[in-house]
Amino acid sequence: MASANTALRTRDRVARAALYAVLILGLFAVAGPFVWMALSSIKPEREIRAVPPTWWPETATLGNYRDLFSGLDFPLYFFNSLLVATAVTAGNLLFCSLVGYALAKLRYPGKRVLFLAVLGMLMVPGMVTFVPQFVLVSNMGLANTYAGLILPFLVGAFGVFLMRQFLQSIPDELIEAARVDGAGEFRIFWRVVLPLCRPALATLGILTFLQSWNNFLWPLVVATTEDKYTLPVALALFSVGQNRIYYGPLLAGAVIVVLPVLVLFVVLQRHFLRGIATTGLK
């Protein structure tokens, strides 16, 4: 009996060690490139290209960042990215929760059609709408404007779906009670419903912000002059424009694109990952 127990415990210990080994190896493979990117962005080009490669910088320098900022107006691209992502996030939070509440809790003709259209939209690939959207935005005179970058993303089918699913779990009695108390419909929405939606709003907010920040193809096509570039567009065009690849400034640029969202993600990961998990189950 005792020997069987120790055998089991040894097997458990071996299993645990193997598990850790695999996970740490996996973590190195997934997160390692990001760490390497950050460390290499402060190495001189010569050291980045050294064979065998170095892990920790032998000579630390901010030269790559200096080169990057002298050639390109990165503060402006940063501002553009921030402006677009903030506007898109605010629009999605407000409009998607309004319509999500209506779809979940109010009775009105046409609501079924609207919801089916939203569901159908979830399956439409981006390339289907891409060309007409581009023609539309150009014809509206919005090419190369902030409005052109923001408007097509101000609402999203996924956001409506998420908010509606979440709002359905809120008890009707709360809303009825507010109605009996004589509160107006918008007041009910703003004061009673929205505060209850905080977890869903947090998920949708972070998700939308990340998506907008990382959005690439649309701003690449719509922003035609440098003053409207977002960070990913600027970095992509910067890397394409070179004859010989200089990894140093590129890595510095990559750090600047990735760092803000990584910080945001790590700080908010608890809310965020929980939210993702619940959307997947419904």
Binding site: D12, A15, L19, Y20, L23, G26, L27, V30, P33, F34, W36, M37, V51, P53, L94, L98, V99, A102, L106, R107, Y108, G110, V118, M121, M123, V124, P125, M127, V128, T129, V131, V135, L151, L154, V155, R179, V180, D181, G182, G184, E185, N214, F216, L217, L231, P232, L235, I245, Y247, L250, L251, A254, V257, F265, V266, L273, A277, T278, G280, L281
Partner: protein
């Protein structure tokens, strides 16, 4: 009309706390008006920027619209199914379709296996620092593809890249991954799995945590090994979650665009050209009608995939 829309508002304002509720009919009208009002901002934007483009795209796919015709719409002709028949005779499109299918058929299972392995390991109860691993595995999901491309192009650089440097340590002369017609697409497939498995891992973790613990207890009492428990308890219980994950990933992978766009530009020799990339190129050449027809073929593929999933889900319940 105007009296109908202002009356309930006035009544609502006049209602003081404690008054009996409005008559049923008025209440219904009030709810309908509120519903429309709350739906209006979304619906306007949705119709203009999404629903309308979907319809316009369909109409465009039956015309010979080119970018040069935009100023002179009268020059546009309906050509019936011409674009679609041309599409299936277009060797580049067929190449793109084969590439995309290959990417989906290998990439989706690879991503799912990685995600399930990571989720199972983190859910086994044997591991500490779970948050660290979860956050670490999720990093690529939240990172810009442009930044990822910078790093991966370096990793896969034939001369100075880390991958080939590692291979050199064990005496292997590594290939030029992204410049080899046989290796470029597999390289992008691995990169896409690397980039996306963290998302599925989070969803699978939630699914695993919803499996009742007493099922495992019963299985342990029956003497089932860990592997048997995984095969006979975990996998069947996780089926809906796995299907969901498979379809979401499939829909995403069918639209493969960003990886080849930033890594290979579709090359070498179109070996990484995807359907979405082909559509984008046709858009660039100004062939709007033709691009639209290709996008609808992609749309149909996605609908077919989703339909298969609904069938599979219904079979179970």
């Amino acid at each position: 009309m105007s009296s109908a829309s202002t009356a309930p508002a006035r009544t609502a304002a006049a209602t003081s706390p404690g008054r009996p509720a409005l008559p049923v009919r008025r209440q219904r009208l009030r709810q309908a008006l509120t519903g429309w009002l709350f739906s209006a901002p979304f619906t306007v934007l949705f119709v203009v920027f999404m629903a309308l483009p979907v319809v316009v795209s369909l109409v465009m796919s039956f015309t010979d619209l080119r970018s040069t015709d935009l100023r002179n719409p009268l020059a546009v002709n309906f050509v019936g199914l011409d674009n679609y028949t041309r599409l299936f005779a277009d060797r580049l499109f067929l190449r793109a379709a084969v590439n995309t299918l290959g990417f989906v058929v290998v990439g989706v299972p690879l991503t799912m296996v990685l995600a399930l392995a990571a989720a199972s390991a983190l859910n086994s109860g044997l591991v500490r620092f779970r948050t660290l691993f979860r956050v670490g595995f999720y990093l690529p999901v939240v990172s810009s593809i442009v930044a990822i491309a910078v790093v991966w192009r370096f990793l896969l650089d034939p001369e100075i890249g880390l991958v080939n440097n590692l291979l050199r340590l064990v005496g292997i002369d590594g290939p030029s991954w992204l410049y080899d017609t046989n290796l470029a697409l597999p390289s992008l497939t691995v990169m896409a799995a690397w980039r996306n498995f963290g998302f599925l891992m989070v969803i699978f973790l939630a699914g695993l945590q919803a499996v009742p613990a007493d099922l495992y207890e019963a299985a342990t009492l029956d003497g089932a090994t860990r592997w048997q428990q995984f095969r006979n308890v975990t996998l069947p219980m996780l089926r809906p979650t796995l299907l969901f994950g498979g379809v979401v990933t499939g829909i995403g992978f069918l639209q493969l665009f960003e990886e080849p766009f930033v890594m290979t530009q579709g090359g070498p020799l179109s070996s990484t050209l995807s359907v979405s990339f082909h559509i984008y190129n046709q858009f660039g050449f100004g062939n709007y009608g033709y691009a639209a027809s290709a996008s609808y073929v992609l749309f149909l593929a996605i609908v077919a995939l989703s339909a298969v999933q609904f069938r599979l889900l219904r079979e179970r319940s």
